[in-house]
């Protein structure tokens, strides 16, 4: 992940980690010595005034109002970071932000050409600049605009601003942008600075019947941010990015009260400065926001220690057309009827705007250690993860990649690097493939991340490796593990590279009971291959999966698929059909509609069968009550 974050997996080896952790401990100690009366650290109170607009960026916040200043408008992530094939035909990752930045990956070209039948000769470059004239002129609700002006809340109807907020990161969305095609985009963007701003905006929207669409980090992968083409009202994108402050930290109860627009990397960095973390690390944490997590029921990589978002929130404040919804206290658990948080979590921007959240925090762990285990085959790997879950000893993170991903990981090895000790690695590979008789076309690898105090980590590590050994697993070193985690932050960049050369792809996820894991992996992968063939895809697709989370009763499984679309007249359509079929297959195999990406509009057609007619009715009646005018009209979910 980005090197300007200290919460993620990007930092050096374990000794490095240790040093940082100790430094943090000193900071924590510092806090404790402070004569503060009740352990409450007030970081901000009043709403940021209009005079200090630049405050956010000056405080080192990541996301400026004009996102296009640092991020791509038609691809993933920072403008300065991207994969490309250089003149020598070698893959290279540009920029300075990531561990992989500035490095060359000599094996990637062969892997890429071999896997997809792609060729560096056949390019499909993106439209270089956004032509504002291609964007529909905004439909403005004059009365709304007038009144909004009087509140002093900043807004824009600049084409670039609007286009930027018209999409998430689904393949079809990015593909269209690369082609310079824009469908319905928001007519206007507003940047509230605090809860009260949001209250005002929502009031005005109700008054003037304007459609509001909350926008957090824009990392949605469920078409949640797509404007409904049938919407005739003025659509206003409510960008929460400027509501990005930690309002207070309560060290006695280990909670922090945070504005919902803060993005993951900022939240972790700022908390780290006080010696704390939330431990919530979705792969998109560089850009996704707290409000977005709540609105989609997000899941972080280290949920085994810290929990998923629903375990992390203590209190939520949401502004709805009916008014503000929140609980009256911060009790850790309540028996007060159905938990109203659960109407908010997963509401995907259909009920209101989450403005402030009280979250659990933890002291930054003393020690972190990566690890990896190689298994002779995927079946053994899954059996091991199941056993780990059964014994409830899962490390902070444990992920199992299948053989294709194992190979992919190897293709991404950089040429020179201290941590990528290729010679030793080569030896290790030899050991695995030759001496132990592992079949290089079947073996698979699990990556591990342990956290906690040093002794416990080492103990824990031993326990997990002992279980792994029972399933034929061999410890394969820290580096392999660390590389695995690092890749999750650059994989989204890789898709852009593929798209430069006729390769399109996507990932999607599900959760499934343990006894179904192997079946669902096999069947969905096979279904993808079959569907691609049926849809006229010329080369066998890449169809791979990994198990990314373990639970008592099941696991979260991620699928990746990508194919070379040369020869297809409508690649996006073909792609969507394949994804659709894959989802059908998931459901037929006892998988859920989504473990954490949410429903959005992409998976809406399956909602009814997922939650039953009555369930659907319940959700609808809530929507009806909370938002009878359908002000929050992004039409997700229902």
């Amino acid at each position: 992940m980005a090197s300007n974050s200290s919460g993620g997996g990007g930092e050096g080896g374990s000794s490095d980690r240790q040093r940082i952790a100790q430094q943090r401990l000193r900071i924590i100690a510092g806090h404790l010595q402070r004569p503060a009366d009740d352990g409450l650290i007030v970081l901000a109170a009043e709403c940021k005034g209009q005079n200090n607009k630049t405050e956010a960026s000056s405080e080192g916040r990541t996301v400026p109002r004009r996102r296009q200043e640092i991020m791509k408008w038609n691809g993933w992530g920072y403008s300065d970071s991207k994969f490309l094939f250089n003149k020598k035909g070698q893959a290279e990752f540009t920029g300075k932000r990531y561990r992989l930045s500035g490095m060359i990956m000599p094996a990637l070209k062969d892997w890429f050409e071999g896997t997809f039948g792609a060729s560096l000769q056949h390019k499909t470059p993106a439209t270089p600049v956004l032509t504002s004239s291609a964007v529909q002129p905004p439909t403005l609700n004059e009365a709304f605009v007038e009144e909004l002006k009087s509140t002093g809340i900043s807004f824009s109807h600049n084409a670039e601003d609007r286009v930027f907020r018209a999409h998430g990161h689904c393949l079809h969305e990015i593909f269209a942008l690369r082609e310079g095609k824009f469908g319905r985009v928001p007519d206007m963007v507003v940047w509230p600075n605090c809860h009260n701003d949001v209250v005002k905006i929502v009031e005005l929207a109700c008054k003037h019947n304007v459609c509001l669409m909350p926008y957090g980090g824009g990392t949605s992968v469920s078409s949640a941010l797509e404007c409904p083409p049938e919407e005739t009202r003025s659509i206003v994108s409510l960008d929460t990015s400027q509501m990005n402050r930690i309002l207070w930290i309560d060290e006695k109860n280990l909670t922090a009260h945070v504005e919902a627009g803060i993005v993951g990397q900022d939240l972790e960095r700022l908390l780290n400065e006080s010696g704390y973390c939330t431990g919530h690390e979705p792969d998109s944490m560089e850009f996704s926001s707290l409000g977005g997590w709540v609105a989609t029921r997000a899941s972080g990589m280290k949920k085994n220690i810290y929990g998923n978002i629903e375990d992390l929130v203590v209190h939520i404040k949401m502004v709805t057309p009916r008014g503000v919804i929140e609980k009256s206290c911060q009790g850790p658990r309540m028996s007060t009827g159905p938990d109203i948080h659960h109407f908010i979590m997963g509401s995907e921007g259909t009920l209101g705007v989450v403005t402030e959240v009280t979250m659990k925090i933890r002291p930054v762990p003393e020690y972190q250690k990566y690890g990896s285990v190689v298994f002779p085959n995927f079946e053994q790997g899954v059996a091991c993860l199941r056993e780990v879950a059964k014994q409830r000893c899962a490390p902070a993170s444990i992920r199992l990649m299948d053989n294709e991903q194992f190979k992919f990981g190897h293709a991404l090895k950089p040429q020179v690097s201290s941590i990528f000790t290729s010679f030793l690695e080569g030896l290790k590979k030899l050991y695995i493939t030759k001496f132990k008789g592992f079949d290089p076309n079947r073996l698979c690898v699990a990556t591990l991340l342990f956290e906690g105090d040093r002794e416990k980590v080492l103990q824990h590590e031993k326990q997990v490796y002992d279980i792994a050994a029972k399933f034929g697993g061999l410890a394969a070193g820290e580096d392999n593990g660390q590389r695995g985690y690092m890749l999750t932050f650059v994989i989204a960049y890789l898709r852009d590279l593929g798209m430069d050369y006729y390769v399109i792809g996507e990932s999607f996820e599900t959760s499934v009971p343990w006894d179904r894991v192997l079946d669902i992996c096999r069947n969905v992968k096979a279904r993808i291959v079959r569907e691609c063939k049926d849809k006229g895809v010329q080369f066998p697709p890449l169809s791979t999966c990994r198990v990314t989370q373990t639970y008592d009763a099941g696991a979260c499984v991620y699928f990746y698929f990508a194919f070379n679309y040369r020869g297809l007249s409508d690649p996006v359509h073909a792609y969507e059909q394949v994804e659709h079929a894959a989802r059908e297959e998931i459901l037929a195999n006892g998988g859920s509609l989504s473990h954490h990406h949410g429903v959005g509009k992409l998976r809406k057609e399956w909602m009814r069968e997922t939650v039953s007619n009555v369930g659907m009715g319940m959700l609808k009646s809530v929507k009806e009550y909370v938002d009878p005018q359908n002000i929050f009209g992004n039409r997700n979910l229902l």
């Binding site: 006894d515 179904r516 079946d519 069947n523 037929a588 006892g590 069968e609």
Partner: protein, 686 residues
């Protein structure tokens, strides 16, 4: 690769079929021993879990499903689980195959010898073999051959060995186990044995279904069984049995495998080894126990010419594509998959529909020989002559007349999509005479006229003339008739739909299309235990029948009316005559139930009683068709009446006591006879 449509209603003429190769040709020119010892390296399933017969047993005994059933039983009965586990093991030992290549090699050698003496050729579509090989590689495979002879499954294994394909494991009936030595031999050649009935025995069912599923899931070997459940004694396809099909589809439905390929295989015998054996059985001569000596005593069998066998390996049918849009597999998400559950209504009808489609696919690729057409004509002629029972009339058909009719029928059947092997480059007269000579036990040519060999049959009973009772004479003639009927039946599926339409036109009171349809629908419903008629396909079948009759110019179909054309009368008459024995038979059985049946009639007594009744009618000359004596037909009528609710099994009384709704049976009889219009309620609207 697996085709989406198992059976299509497009113009059947356009069906493309593969060519055949004779595998005996090579056997006749090279060493059988070398062949039996050849290097055998079949293509295996790509997801194969290596395993042997005893490991396999272990897997079954360790399975979650069995554990579950055993612990449930133990809780229910108080029996120790170990005890039940042992019982399970015993069941498995009784059941399991012990497939050994050496046994297959032994059979490869001996069967080569036997086949060469019995048959002129064994023809196989090699493209089908290639498809099968690919199918075996891709997914677990289930082989579904038609079942007309004991020979079938040895023949199948022989063929797969010949083509270097994975040897199947075969579900066989327990009755084979009676033949000790043969039973063990068959076991070693891949047969596993299932009890014929195990009604409520949950343990048996669990062991059995888990055994089959495990073999399928790990790709142990192709699993082979007979959809029809037993050998068809009539050469008509039998209503498919669903038990095993349910089992082999289960792993797909529950997501344990990506797909399962079902391969319908059509085995057509030019002459069936069991020909007269079957006829006798249907007439009530008790079935000889399948004993070793019985099988080998057939020395006479070995000295005869049984013509050729055609084996057609059909398009593999993917269970996945069958289920597409028909089954919502999510229904299996809410209960652990190892807990046995009755299939839901949806699954049941899916399996049932699939079973019918598969049997239709078998029928479609059955090779018909010219003899089948000849015997159809001869039977019709026989019965017509019988009708005008003037003693002075000359019997049979003139040979050249028969040839001319056969050519007409050849063309018609081709239009209807029959898979007819008529040697087009041989003069028709030669085709006819060589066909007749292969079946000299059933036909006679006398003074240039051809007729069925019924007199000889009677004479052949062996006793001095005077001592043969009329009944004995009738029965021995019936043996010949039923043998002939079994050949005619091979062609039934080709003509069935048009024949139902022709009969419907005949019985309907007007030419009104809706009325004809009602009548068609009634007949179709009535006969759905008799013939393979896919459930719910009435309109489709009606349209297909109209299409075929229109195509051949026999019918004009307008919005309102269905009219037989001038030139169509011949076709329509032929078709009606073909179905007439069944129409009459059904009426006669109904009449029996109304007139003769007593309150104490049980299922068991039904066949002998109805047979007695029919013999009486035949002897009195009130019924022409001796084939109505077939217990198969009689059972089918009873099944139909039970299904329609015209007869009910009474609970509480002696087992199988039948309660007859005389009014309803009577009206069914009248409707069949065209005396009553079909009730609108019985049929869907067009």
């Amino acid at each position: 690769m697996a085709s989406k449509a198992v059976y299509t209603h497009r113009d059947p003429m356009l069906k493309k079929r593969d060519d055949f190769e004779d595998i005996l040709e090579e056997r006749r020119s090279s060493s059988d021993l070398r062949y039996a010892l050849k290097c055998y390296t079949p293509v295996l399933y790509k997801g194969l879990t290596p395993c042997n017969a005893s490991l396999l047993k272990g897997m079954v005994l360790q399975s979650d499903q069995l554990h579950y059933v055993i612990s449930q039983m133990s809780k229910g009965t108080g029996r120790a689980t170990d005890d039940i586990q042992e019982e399970a093991m015993a069941i498995l030992d009784e059941m399991a195959h012990s497939l050994q290549l050496s046994t297959i090699r032994f059979f490869a050698f001996t069967l080569s010898k036997v086949f060469k003496t019995l048959f002129r050729s064994i023809c196989v579509n090699e493209e089908g073999i290639q498809r099968l090989q690919q199918a075996i590689h891709e997914h677990p495979v289930v082989l579904l051959p038609s079942h007309r002879s004991y020979m079938d499954f040895l023949l199948m294994s022989y063929l797969l060995y010949t083509y270097d394909l994975a040897l199947p494991v075969i579900a066989a009936g327990m009755d084979f186990m009676g033949m000790k030595f043969v039973g063990e031999m068959l076991r070693m050649s891949g047969a596993f044995f299932i009890r014929r009935s195990f009604g409520g025995d949950k343990l048996y069912w669990a062991v059995f279904s888990e055994y089959v599923k495990t073999m399928l899931k790990i790709g142990f070997a192709p699993v082979e069984f007979f959809l029809e459940g037993t050998r068809s004694r009539t050469s008509k396809s039998l209503t498919p049995k669903l038990g095993l099909l349910n089992i082999v589809m289960d792993p797909f439905l529950k997501g344990e495998v990506f797909d399962v390929n079902l391969v319908p295989i059509s085995i057509s015998y030019e002459r069936i080894l069991e020909e007269s054996l079957y006829a006798r059985e249907l007439l009530g001569v008790p079935k000889p126990k399948e004993s070793t000596s019985g099988l080998f005593k057939a020395r006479k069998v070995l000295s005869e010419d049984y013509g050729s066998i055609h084996v057609y390996f059909g398009q593999p049918v993917s269970v996945r594509s069958l289920a597409q849009g028909k089954v919502n597999r999510c229904q299996f998400s809410l209960v652990p998959r190892h807990i046995p559950k009755r299939p839901s209504e949806e699954i049941h009808s899916f399996v049932n529909d699939s079973a019918y489609k598969l049997v239709r696919a078998q029928e479609e690729n059955m090779v018909l020989k010219p003899w089948v057409l000849l015997v159809s004509l001869l039977l019709q002629n026989h019965h017509q002559n019988q009708g005008s029972a003037d003693a002075g009339q000359r019997k049979g058909v003139a040979l050249d007349e028969l040839t001319a009719q056969a050519l007409w029928l050849r063309d018609l059947s081709r239009e209807y999509g029959a898979f007819l092997h008529w040697p087009d480059h041989t003069p028709p007269s030669e085709v006819v005479s060589s066909s007749l000579s292969l079946h000299q036990g059933l036909v006679r040519i006398c003074e240039g006229r051809v007729h069925l060999a019924v007199e000889q049959a009677a004479a052949g009973v062996g006793q001095p003339q005077g001592t043969v009772t009329p009944e004995e004479e009738l029965l021995s003639q019936a043996v010949v008739i039923l043998s002939c009927v079994s050949y005619r039946n091979q062609a039934l599926h080709v003509f069935l739909r048009p024949a139902l339409l022709a009969s419907a036109i005949h019985t309907a009171s007007s030419n009104n299309k809706q009325e004809v349809f009602n009548s068609f629908s009634f007949l179709r419903n009535m006969f759905s235990n008799e013939f393979i008629l896919c459930p719910g396909a009435t309109v489709q079948d009606f349209e297909e029948a109209c299409y075929l009759l229109m195509k051949t110019g026999a019918l004009q179909v307008t919005q309102q009316e269905v009219l037989v054309t001038e030139s169509g009368h011949r076709t329509v008459a032929f078709l009606t005559n073909m179905l007439d024995p069944f129409l009459q038979g059904y009426q006669v059985v109904c009449r029996f139930l109304c007139e003769e049946a007593t309150d104490s009639l049980t299922e068991k007594l039904f066949i002998p009683a109805v047979r007695k009744f029919i013999i009486k009618l035949l002897l009195e000359g009130r019924l022409r068709y001796a084939e109505v004596l077939s217990s198969d037909l009689q059972k089918n009528v009873l099944a139909a009446l039970l299904r329609l609710g015209a007869v009910q099994k009474v609970k509480g009384a002696a087992p199988g006591t039948l309660k007859i709704n005389t009014v309803m049976v009577n009206s069914l009889e009248d409707t069949l006879g065209g005396k009553l219009p079909t009730q609108k309620t019985v049929s869907a609207r067009l």
